[in-house]
């Protein structure tokens, strides 16, 4: 069923769980109480289902099988093989791109806000802005977040630190006729202070802030910044280091 399950519409976020993994009872510990018609559902998932039953019953079992697959999926994707499969999908952008303009199409990862099923739907995590977004499609928005869990996406970046995108201090700056809007600007200055405090904490702990390149870039362009702001003040909606043409 695995193959058929992941290839059907709306299931693009799931990877295919290895047969081996599914048939090892140890990996399914505790799930028998979570899933109705557990044994039939497991048979269906592992393609050994041969029960003669009516359509209603069949539908019930299929529903249970999807639930079981999801719950096993949450466990599988934090294994070495599971992570590797999800990394491939991540690289292909199978989970979509971050809608935040400044994140420049950073690929997303599916995640749950809870590990308990039936609490919240799947969300998408952006490692560049470290925020979570609703999936665009309602088919995806109906998937249980517990099928991905609260830890998977964070574990992925611990195991594959090279996958971590370069973060940026650039941000959208609301303006009116070229002038910064005071309420928003004051909040953003306050946020910037918190950021500088964090950088200071990291520096004193001798940990990279991740913003070194950007901060070095700022110093380079500082000298001609005044001219640029005079000319482009209105169009220049993004604070921080800009791409030079």
């Amino acid at each position: 069923m695995g193959e058929q399950f992941i290839s059907s519409r709306g299931n693009e976020y799931f990877c295919e769980i290895d047969e081996e993994y599914l048939t090892d009872r140890f990996n399914l510990t505790g799930l028998n109480t979570e899933v109705q018609y557990y044994q039939y559902a497991l048979d269906l998932v592992t393609d050994v289902f041969d029960l003669e039953c009516d359509d209603d019953m069949r539908e019930q079992i299929e529903k249970s099988a999807r639930h079981l697959y999801g719950l096993v999926h949450a466990r599988y994707i934090v294994t070495t093989r599971g992570l590797a499969k999800m990394i491939e999908k991540f690289k292909q952008g199978a989970f979509g791109k971050c809608p935040r303009v400044i994140c420049e199409q950073q690929p997303l990862l599916p995640m749950g806000q809870h590990d308990t099923p039936n609490v919240s739907a799947v969300k998408l995590y952006c490692a560049k802005c470290e925020d979570i977004y609703n999936p665009k499609s309602s088919r995806h928005a109906a998937i249980d977040g517990a099928y991905f869990g609260t830890s998977f996406h964070n574990i992925l970046f611990q195991v594959y630190p090279a996958m971590m995108p370069q973060r940026t201090q650039r941000r959208y700056e609301p303006r009116i006729y070229g002038f910064r809007v005071h309420a928003a600007a004051a909040l953003m200055r306050w946020q910037d202070e918190r950021r500088e405090e964090m950088k200071e904490r990291l520096r004193s702990a001798r940990v990279e802030t991740g913003f070194e390149i950007e901060d070095a870039g700022d110093e380079d362009i500082e000298e001609d910044e005044d001219d640029v702001e005079g000319e482009d003040g209105i169009d220049d909606m993004f604070e921080g280091q800009m791409q030079r043409v």
């Binding site: 925020d131 609703n134 959208y172 006729y177 070229g178 928003a184 910037d192």
Partner: protein, 373 residues
């Protein structure tokens, strides 16, 4: 002269009903017919006159020569005009104009008309009738919802990140997190952001201050919950008062902070409204190489008095007996209420600096930006 096509629908409403043009307001003819509103656009739009006529569904003005030649046109005598490109000066102005209206040029005029309409639209939606029309569309949720989970389906507004056409496509501004997003549907990726402009987004929320930015409408609740069950128990990844910064505020909160009611100042940010990475329930340390670094982007003080920079400045410096240095005087521009409130405290030099700019009541920030005065 009325249009020969007798189209039931005006060019403007046809344009606004095209797929991908859902964000546009219908600019009133009255607005377009006021020359003042079109100041400076002539030089930005090729075939300006034809484009304007097209937008207003006006039949081009003709002289007698024109009409005669028009009859010839019916006889399909186009061969000579067809290669007029390099020999334009041999033709009369009337012939030129006629040629411009030929089918092959209609698409050029059409795209000029779209550009012109877009540029007028940018101005219209910051005018009183235009912003009102956009408010109606906003109320109907025509622009969609913020994709950010912690914004709880806050309604967004189309904005440009540039006022110059051809730079960037239209984006969506969320008042709850003060950020901009790419529209979810790719149909909007061919709509120029300059047609909405950089000013509209903020002007809108400063105009309609009574709008409750954080409120959930029926629409937004449906969009935001995405099938989430109301049951909220068990370990959550949402922040729960871990640091003193996030504790409940004990200080009385002002009715207005920097010109905005605190409940409308980025209600989607702050404690409980940002994501904190966890692994098996344990927070990922800031010191980890792949640890969190972006929390500041979604922070907001629980006590909004922290954002009252003037007050903070004076509180910090009054004790030292220091006066505000002249260079810092335009660091913050005050709103009317604050100006009155602080007048007693404010040094005379500061007041003079403000009135000289003629922008005492402006809620805008002049920091680092060329001053208007």
């Amino acid at each position: 002269m009325s249009s020969s096509s007798n189209a039931a629908e005006s060019w403007i409403s046809a344009f606004c009903s095209l797929v991908g043009h859902e964000y546009f307001a219908e600019v009133s003819e009255e607005f377009i017919e006021d020359d003042f509103n079109l100041t400076g656009l002539q030089s930005q739009v090729p075939m300006y006159k034809e484009a304007l006529e097209m937008i207003l569904d006006v039949e081009p003005e003709e002289d007698e020569d024109d009409e005669e030649e028009e009859e010839e046109e019916d006889d399909d005598d186009d061969a000579v005009l067809g290669d007029a490109n390099g020999t334009g000066d041999r033709f009369t102005r009337a012939a030129m104009r006629r040629q411009m209206r030929m089918a092959s040029d209609l698409s050029v005029i059409e795209s000029s008309a779209e550009l012109l309409y877009g540029l007028i639209h940018q101005r219209y939606i910051t005018s009183r009738p235009g912003i009102q029309q956009m408010a109606e569309k906003y109320e109907l949720c025509n622009f969609g919802l913020c994709p950010r989970v912690f914004c709880n389906g806050c309604r967004v507004l189309p904005v440009g990140c540039s006022d110059t056409p051809g730079q960037e496509t239209v984006k969506l501004f969320c008042p709850s997190c003060l950020d901009v997003y790419t529209p979810p549907n790719s149909r909007f990726q061919s709509v120029d952001g300059a047609f909405f402009g950089t000013t509209f987004g903020c002007l809108f929320f400063m105009t309609f201050t009574e709008l409750d930015v954080g409120a959930r409408t029926a629409d937004s609740a449906a969009g935001a919950t995405n099938g989430d069950k109301p049951r909220q128990q068990g370990p959550s990844t949402t922040t729960t008062l871990p640091s003193p910064l996030q504790g409940p505020s004990t200080t009385p909160q002002p009715a207005v902070i920097n010109g905005v009611t605190p409940s409308n100042l980025a209600p989607g940010l702050g404690p409980g409204n940002f994501y904190e990475p966890r692994i098996y329930g344990f927070r990922v340390s800031e010191r980890a190489k792949s640890g969190p670094r972006m929390k500041w982007l979604r922070m907001r003080p629980t006590d909004v008095n922290e954002l009252d920079e003037c007050r903070r400045y004076y509180e910090e410096h009054e004790e030292d007996g220091l006066e505000v240095p002249v260079e810092d005087q335009n660091m913050v521009d005050m709103t009317v209420e604050q100006t009155v409130e602080r007048r007693k405290k404010a040094p005379i030099r500061r007041r003079r600096a403000n009135t000289a700019n003629g922008r005492t009541a402006s809620p805008m920030d002049t920091n680092g930006v060329v001053d208007g005065g």
